[in-house]
């Protein structure tokens, strides 16, 4: 299992929005909270802290649109 709290802490730290911890359907890209740079930072932290490698190429924003969807994707990649 992916450590949900660990992931949400990383996400909140990078986005600077605590709301992403409460509202797991928060639209990260549509709201402008995450951009390319934030995404890369997130991927680097996920790899360093959680040990899950996410390929950068063709990172599909629809599949990673919300905290919930991200958790789903990470679960698959683990």
């Amino acid at each position: 299992m992916v450590d949900k709290n660990e992931f949400l802490t990383i996400l909140a730290e990078i986005t600077g929005e605590d709301e992403v911890k409460e509202d797991l359907d928060f639209p990260l890209y549509d709201s402008g909270v995450l951009d390319s740079l934030g995404t890369v930072q997130l991927l680097v932290e996920i790899e360093a802290q959680m040990g899950i490698q996410v390929p950068v190429s063709d990172f599909d924003r629809d599949e990673w649109a919300t905290p919930n969807k991200m958790l789903e994707q990470l679960e698959q990649l683990k």
Binding site: G16, D35, S36, L37, T39, V40, Q41, L43, V44, E47, P55, V56, S57, D58, F59
Partner: protein, 393 residues
């Protein structure tokens, strides 16, 4: 006839040729042999006859890319050395690089070049990168050739993604979905007529051409301004019109090629502009250049400050985009100009995060749109090359 969608008769041929494909898809069947014949015919219209040299260049190019990508895929299923990856990347880029660089050494590269070479290169390079990342596990030479030679988008995009294309190509849409696609396609193609052949045509004739003449006669601020606006609008209507044709025809063939423009001139900032202008190109650069580069820089901790790193990333990205347009000073300056604009945009976003009490209302939004539109127009003025003409006048 050479450029696709260039002349009315091209549309007539298209309409006739597409009927069996559309009927087939309505009944849940992709008539592959017939579709291949149509593809050959339309490729012949563009790359045959007087343009046969381009046709030969295209055949050699496709053979090269198929051997290269196929070979790399075979290798990658066993091993994964970085050096081989870089060789494969260079190999995929080589024809385009030679084609762009040879003129600087006074060698005529005509045997290498054909309409759309830069767009096909985007497709080949992404294959190598995705094979390296292990995202393309099964590689079919047949689908890859179809992907490269998909005639509706061959000359100027939109740039599709292999895995997305493969899914559409190997499946036939449900009838309900296909009817919606046809519906959208017809709307897009007619909107394309309006954009390219009516609005674009008038802007070109009575705007761009008129003010260019006026400007060369009399370099006044007014003429420059009017040239800038008419050229910028022309650029949009002409290219968006073309893109609507390309996406519309793809839809009729059951391939959901991504759209290229989404009301770019209402963007409230430059970052948003690049999410709405020539989208398939900017997303390609975002996914395959910018994110990879920043990922590397961040992991290796090359720069201490996040701001420096993103600025370096943006400047290199847009410089590369400028160079891609051509090795001419105004394309390169155009790239750098957009790089700087994005860095300024980013600095403003950081400032806004620190000062949360700044006003944000309909007026500031309109101001944002106004500033963005004019910044973009200035960049297109540089891009147009008219300043070069004025200089040498």
């Amino acid at each position: 006839m050479s450029t696709p969608y260039g002349a009315p008769v091209y549309f007539l041929y298209l309409a006739v040729a597409l009927i069996p494909i559309v009927v087939g898809l309505m009944f849940g069947k992709r008539l592959l042999w017939y579709q291949n014949l149509v593809t050959l015919y339309f490729l012949y219209l563009t790359f045959g006859g007087a343009h046969y040299k381009q046709g030969i260049a295209l055949i050699i190019y496709v053979l090269w890319q198929v051997l290269l990508v196929g070979g790399y895929h075979r290798y990658r299923s066993k091993k994964n050395e970085s050096s081989v990856y870089f060789m494969a990347l260079l190999g995929a880029l080589l024809p385009l690089v030679l084609y762009k660089l040879l003129p600087a050494f006074h060698v005529n590269p005509s045997m290498l070049g054909f309409l759309g070479i830069s767009y096909l290169t985007f497709k080949a390079v992404q294959m190598v990168m995705e094979i390296r990342d292990g995202q393309i596990k099964t590689f079919s030479m047949r689908v890859y050739i179809q992907f490269l030679l998909f005639f509706p988008t061959i000359s100027s995009g939109p740039i599709d993604r292999y895995r997305r294309f493969e899914k559409d190509f190997e499946n036939v849409p449900e009838r309900e979905e296909y009817v919606t696609l046809v519906d959208k396609a017809i709307f897009m193609i007619f909107l394309g007529f309006l954009y390219k052949f009516i609005i674009g045509y008038y802007l070109k004739t009575f705007g761009v051409n008129y003010f260019e003449g006026a400007l060369l006669d009399n370099t006044s601020f007014w003429n420059l301004l009017m040239y800038m606006y008419s050229y910028s609008l022309y650029l949009f209507f002409d290219f968006a019109g073309y893109s609507l044709f390309a996406v519309g025809v793809s839809h009729l063939m059951g391939i959901k090629t991504p759209i290229n423009f989404n009301k770019p001139f209402i963007s409230p900032n430059i970052k948003e502009f690049w999410n709405r202008w020539h989208m398939s190109l900017s997303f390609w650069f975002r996914d395959f250049v910018f994110m990879r580069m920043v990922f590397f820089l961040m992991k290796k901790k090359v720069f201490k400050s996040r701001t420096t790193m993103s600025n370096v990333g943006y400047m290199s990205l847009f410089l590369l985009m400028g160079v891609w347009h051509g090795l001419t000073w105004y394309y390169i300056v155009y790239g750098l100009f957009h790089g700087i604009a994005i860095c300024v945009n980013d600095a403003w976003i950081r400032y806004k995060k620190k000062h949360k009490n700044l006003p944000s209302n309909i007026f500031t939004k309109c101001l944002g749109i106004f500033i963005t539109f004019n910044t973009v127009c200035v960049s297109f003025l540089i891009f147009s090359g008219v300043l070069d003409k004025l200089w040498h006048h």
